[in-house]
Symmetry: C2
Subunit: 245 residues, 2 copies
């Protein structure tokens, strides 16, 4: 099994954080997006959509699309569950992951793709007006998310899920898109501290249950009087994650 990875681009990051949460390590090859390696004949044969990441299984089967790759690993290693457990929770995780994609990650990416000069070689045509049109969409969703996070620790409910990974990657990609989270969204900022330990996202969040199993203080308890993150010890696993992501 081999992962075709793509540096700091948001989708490859989603998969890397997901794998880190699962504690899964697999061989990876970097595709140089800056050099347009994703459009090479060799990579196009792997993923005709010319996008990263892509996972190639030992029999040659290719799984492309970040969330498809994540679902594959969720199925072969269910613990810790990151797509919800049971019909209802799974549906709510799907809902929130899609909301985080459609109203946050994709708009943030569109701002970058259609306004950043470095993307002119990759996005044809760049439509600056479309880039601008996405900025208020991002801000509106962040304000909505801030209100939603008033009473719960994570995007889709009590537990840390793939929806948190999507939202975290999106929020952290705002800097690249030359946007900033507005001041005053205190619930969102609290969530971000829980979902990622710092503004640069150098290591992945551990779900409370994992922190417990790792012998650290649970960062967030649903139903407790406080939703604030605990400091948490820097475990060996988290230190590894810090280097990896």
């Amino acid at each position: 099994m081999k992962l075709y990875d793509g540096g700091r681009a948001p989708n490859p990051r989603r998969v890397r954080i997901f794998l880190t949460e699962k504690g899964i390590k697999i061989p990876a090859e970097q595709i140089d997006l800056g050099a347009l390696q994703q459009r090479s004949e060799a990579y196009t044969a792997i993923n005709p959509m010319q996008r990263v990441p892509a996972l190639v299984l030992d029999d040659g089967t290719v799984i492309a699309e970040s969330i498809a790759i994540c679902r594959y690993f969720e199925a072969i290693q269910p613990d810790p569950p990151l797509f919800g457990v049971g019909a209802l929770q799974s549906a709510l995780v799907e809902m929130w992951n899609r909301r985080a994609e459609l109203h946050l990650l994709f708009p943030v990416a569109s701002v970058f793709q259609h306004l950043h000069p470095a993307m002119s070689r990759m996005v044809d045509p760049q439509v600056p007006q479309w880039g601008e049109a996405n900025k208020p969409r991002v801000m509106q969703f962040l304000e909505f998310l801030d209100r939603e996070l008033k009473d719960r620790a994570h995007i889709a409910g009590a537990d840390y899920t793939v929806a948190d990974i999507t939202a975290l990657v999106a929020v952290e990609f705002m800097r690249v898109s030359k946007m900033a989270v507005p001041d005053g969204l205190s619930n969102l900022q609290r969530w971000q501290r829980c979902a990622g330990p710092n503004a640069t996202g150098k290591f992945a969040h551990r779900a409370p249950s994992d922190l417990q199993s790792l012998g650290t203080t649970p960062a967030v308890r649903l139903g407790s009087t406080s939703l604030l993150c605990g400091a948490g010890k820097m475990t060996r696993r988290r230190k590894h994650a810090a280097r990896a992501l």
Copy 2:
């Protein structure tokens, strides 16, 4: 349980076709998108994203996002499976459903949203240049899909899945977006006849296993020498679906 539905819009259609495939009937209420009822205070309280469809469970829990609703029903009624069975097939269905969304449904919808005069009240701002930019993306994906469908009956492989529903709804929405499937994409046209019985999509496809259980000729056999659809009898269930969709 109650479904807030939305007429001929693509996402509500996805859920209706999915439910028809599952043979599930639930109470539905139409939200009048033309009258902007999705932005009413009452509906915003149900889905703050102001989009249809939304499913409200008996305890008041709301599941929004078409695919989240579909996944909920897949979990509570797995037969016939429309999201794949097992880790690999499920991942491939996710991959193809997302490809059909990202490279077909969303671009087709963007053409409509940003170029159709009727959408000027709903999409602010309309960016016509973005609408135009999506047209070649649609055509490129259709050509890719035609090549992919050379050797298989359905979008994600041998079986009819939610990826076929997404692609079918997208292809049929092209007419509303004032686009047409180019001549010569014979594999795509063959697939469309299998996935939907006619150009207006008045009733849902039945998977081969279902057709067999309904006593009709299987429409498509993978591994057979022909991928052509059989005519298939118009069963009572299909007649019902014809009225419903």
